[in-house]
Amino acid sequence: MTDFEPITGRYITVEIAGEPNRIYFEESGEGIPVVCLHTAGADSRQYRHLQTDPEVLASYRVIAFDLPWHGKSLPPGKWWEREYLLTAELYVETVMALIHALELDQPLVVGCSMAGSLVLELARLHGAELGGVVGFSGAAKVNGRFHDWPLMPDINSNQVVPSWTYGLMAPQSPTEAKKEVWWMYSQGGPGIYRGDTYFYSALDLRGKEEQIDTSVCPVYLYTGEYDYACTPEETEETVFAVPGAKGGRMPEIGHFPISENYALCREYLWPALNELKSSRAARTSPQQSIEHTVRTS
């Protein structure tokens, strides 16, 4: 008997910044939609453990997609004539375009690294459309990940980019999993990791944290103690600054929790998802809807 995994993949063309983009996404499970956002220079394979977790799939429809320029998603037209530099506006538009295209109702959003920071901006700008967010390795401001060397002709970015990110993982994490992260990072297009870190380093939500209404869109933020790119201290500062946010430091794990040590990451993610499920249900219950209608009529 063939042992198929529950993950299935499809393509969808979505308009982003006025251009058609062919996006690849994978999904598994049934229930509340969870949109998973990969790290800089990587792709949706990072979520394969979450997407094959039977307990998760019993209650959640887990969707992970490759950003344009990443994985099996293609770059937009005439990509060879433009420099890839991800901006907050483009990133937010991309995620929301996919959510709208798939007609997802109040999805939960899980992001890691640059996406761990992006979820804050999603909660700030589109919180009413989301059921809540969970960010790993993100903060209101993360410094110093943008460099030009990935495009230099005497640098083999195919090996250096994955080695650069490899050091962000914890010594305790399983070697097999860490090497898998390395492998995925070896497969990014030229300059794509660099272009993603342009966003990660440029985003600065300091001073805007109180614009996030966690009663509308709850926020969970966690960072591994071995992450020296986005430090746990930076994440803790953000958790403190966002009223009602939850989360903090995760011992014995690094920058890629969801893929470098899923079992340990799950100890934080699973309770967060279930709390979000409960709060989402409370907000979207018929009684709530009636009250909302009365208040706004």
Partner: protein, 141 residues
């Protein structure tokens, strides 16, 4: 959680026996052997007055004398910094050269940063094995 654990004499980055074991471990490491076949890089490990020079070429790590090359990587730190790096389970921000370079004021890639980045995969493979507790490939759980 293992913390500051000295594995060598207090007046040296690491002892001669440690160095011999390290060089052997690196040269016997299957991943290092594969990744370093075309590597040609020289680097120094420094602490105070103490400097040790090594060369990786043709798939081998060896102790060497400083050449007149202007492409030498210099990794410089205090005894305390190197000791923290060498701890069996290093504390956060001490587990990688790039982490220490970013977060410790008493450690830096003092010279040859570009060559360090250029040779990052091989340099990292070698330097992770400098830790006495580094797992021996094939016997790792």
């Amino acid at each position: 959680m293992a913390a500051h654990t000295r594995t060598q004499s207090e007046d040296s980055i690491f002892g001669p026996e440690h160095e011999t074991k390290w060089v052997n471990a690196v040269n016997e490491d299957p991943e290092f052997q594969l990744a370093s076949r075309w590597t040609d890089v020289e680097f120094e490990i420094r602490s105070g007055e103490e400097t040790r020079t090594f060369k990786i070429t043709g798939g081998r790590l060896d102790r060497t004398d400083r050449s007149d090359s202007d492409r030498v990587i210099v990794l410089e730190g205090t005894q305390s910094a190197w000791s923290d790096f060498l701890a069996p389970v290093p504390l956060p921000k001490n587990h990688h050269i790039l982490a220490m370079d970013r977060h410790r004021s008493d450690f830096s890639i003092a010279d040859g940063r570009h060559w360090f980045i250029q040779n990052l995969r091989v340099m990292d493979l070698a330097l992770q094995l400098l830790r006495p507790s580094a797992p021996v490939k094939g016997r790792e759980s």
